[in-house]
């Protein structure tokens, strides 16, 4: 049994954390790097959560999204040809097979379990016993029910979470929108989680920051932070292009046209954030500055996208680039560069694109 668990740990769990290292690093930075006094901040947040059923429900919704992400990953991985040998787990019988997958689920769900223990302690200290019981029940259900799904996947009786539009609703699919459709069809959990966090950042900013005078810089920085949260989407998009759209290199399209396609794609992908931001109008930005916010964020994602055309850019290198770009922009924003920042980013992105697009080879 121990050997089985070690194999599952190596094949499923370790790969999951490697794949999502960027997301966890980003979350860690947002949760513990940004607040001045992280300890007090989190205890205050946890107290609000355990005392309000509405907030508790929101937290459960976020945990459910994370669980969808875990389920999506494990199911996809289990179906892969390299994992075909895992069907031998069926020979163990129901109980041992269930325990093995419960271990996998426990391990990938560990960040939530750890946070839920913290919430339970805070709830008990505040005598919110019902909230504590609800948290324990929620985590238990999420950990103990999912192994049954994994077993069904192993038996090829179930494939994946499928939430999509009815087949009769068909949108036109121009070349620049294909990565967006790919994310909607094949990476919907990741897309949902990413948008949840990026919109959450904007919501927290609008709720928590009350400026005494008009200044676009905090809004710009916050909006860029929300856009940076989309970095995993950028990585997925590039992978998709490389894997499925390589033949488009044979399309007679100029480099400028191809670059415009990337701009349009990120304009569409950032649409939820751009619409949500209107909640902050006119306190946080005026109409002209809105254009600046939109262009800078699109240009930044384009820059991150074209950085992936540079040879040997792994996920690890990419995360470093994301942090570097984020930090660099933070200092530039302090000097209030206005729309020039967007132009500057577009020019750098296009220069990299021009230099590397035709020379890129996986």
């Amino acid at each position: 049994m121990r050997t089985t668990l070690i194999i599952l740990q190596k094949v499923l769990v370790n790969h999951f954390y490697r794949l999502n290292a960027g997301l966890f690093m980003f979350l860690f930075y947002v949760l513990f790097g940004l607040p001045q006094n992280a300890g007090d901040f989190h205890i205050a947040i946890a107290t609000i959560i355990v005392k309000s059923q509405l907030f508790l429900l929101l937290v459960f919704a976020a945990w459910l999204l994370y669980n969808f992400k875990c389920i999506d990953y494990i199911c996809k991985h289990l179906k892969g040809p390299a994992q075909l040998f895992l069907t031998s787990l069926e020979n163990f019988g129901f109980f041992k097979c269930y325990i093995s997958f419960a271990f996998v689920q426990f391990m990938v769900y560990l960040p939530i379990t750890a946070y839920s223990i913290f919430l339970v302690i805070v709830a008990l200290k505040n005598h919110a016993y019902i909230a504590a019981a609800e948290i324990i029940a929620c985590v238990a259900v999420m950990i103990l029910s999912v192994p049954l799904l994994y077993r069904m996947v192993l038996q090829r009786r179930w494939s994946e979470i499928n939430i999509g539009l009815p087949a009769f609703i068909r949108f036109p699919k121009p070349l620049f929108l294909l990565p967006v459709f790919y994310l909607l069809k094949k990476r919907k959990q990741m897309l949902l989680v990413t948008k949840f966090f990026s919109l959450g950042i904007l919501w927290l900013f609008i709720k928590g920051f009350n400026p005494d005078h008009y200044d676009i810089r905090p809004t710009l920085f916050c909006f860029l932070l929300a856009a940076i949260a989309n970095c995993t989407i950028v990585f997925e998009t590039r992978n998709f292009e490389e894997e499925y759209l390589s033949i488009s290199g044979n399309f007679p399209l100029s480099l400028t046209r191809r670059f415009i396609n990337i701009l349009l794609m990120y304009a569409v992908l950032l649409m939820p954030e751009m619409i949500f931001l209107w909640k902050g109008y006119p306190v946080y930005f005026n109409l002209f500055d809105y254009l600046q916010l939109a262009f800078v964020s699109i240009a930044m994602l384009c820059l991150l996208h074209v950085c992936l055309l540079i040879e040997n850019t792994t996920m690890e290198t990419f995360i470093k680039i994301v942090f570097g770009v984020g930090m660099g922009l933070f200092f530039i924003i302090l000097y209030n560069p206005g729309i020039a920042l967007a132009l500057f980013l577009f020019i750098i992105a296009f220069a990299i694109f021009h230099a590397y697009y035709y020379d890129f080879e996986k």
Binding site: K173, P174, L175, L178, F181, Y182, K185, K186, F240, E243, Y244, L245, S246, I247, S248, G249, N250, F251, P252, L253, S254, Y358, D359, F360, E361
Partner: protein, 211 residues
């Protein structure tokens, strides 16, 4: 015609293909070679999908390096093992290719009919067999008005009737529109339906005319 000038393709420091000078005149050209000899690499280079050293000229007018767009307009390519986004239907792919290549949708639909896959036209390619995807990619290679169509192993994974249908389509396109073909095969090719005008051999990391 296609003129190769000092074409070289390397991976790390290993040369996988080196063609000092080669002129391929228009026609039905067979490109043969063993597995891993570099046939696909050569086709991908001509199709503009792989970076390389040197240059390739179309009709001594357009250079792949300098007039890339004009060059690419003359070249269509069908992969040996095509991969398309699973969620797209054949109809959407046909529209996409015809839009990019300024082709006629009706024409491609007729080809799909000849290849007996028109009944799955509105279904996502995830429901297709490998043979059906291969047929779709071959039909898509005819989109627009190219001067050359590069077909990488066009007859693998498809049934006998479809091989005959594809040969018929190739012959018609060649005789009616003067479109040239560069067709690869890793086996000794013996098909009475196609009369090749020239035969090339990829061997020892270079390309030469077969004797």
């Amino acid at each position: 015609m296609l003129r190769f000038e000092q074409v070289k393709k390397q991976y790390s420091s290993t040369t996988v293909l080196s063609v000092d000078s080669l002129l391929i005149n228009k026609g039905l050209v067979l490109l043969q070679g063993e597995n891993g000899s570099g046939k696909t690499t050569l086709l991908k280079i001509i199709a503009g999908l792989l970076p390389f050293e040197g240059n390739i000229l179309f009709n001594d007018t357009f250079s792949l390096k300098k007039q890339r767009l004009q060059f690419i307009r003359q070249i269509n390519y069908a992969e040996a093992e095509p991969i398309y986004p699973e969620f797209l239907t054949a109809k959407e792919l046909v529209k996409l290719f015809c839009y990019a290549k300024k082709g006629n949708v009706q024409f491609i639909e007729n080809l799909l009919e000849q290849l007996h896959i028109i009944d799955v036209y509105n279904k996502p390619v995830s429901t297709y067999s490998s043979g059906m995807i291969k047929k779709l990619s071959l039909a898509l290679a005819f989109a627009g008005t190219p001067s050359w169509i590069l077909l990488d192993e066009p007859f693998i994974t498809i049934d006998k009737n479809s091989v005959a249908a594809i040969c018929q389509i190739i012959n018609k396109k060649y005789s009616d529109d003067g479109v040239s073909f560069l067709i690869t095969s890793h086996q000794n090719f013996n098909n009475e339906n196609l009369s090749f005008t020239a035969s090339l051999l990829v061997q020892d990391h270079t390309v030469k005319f077969a004797e």
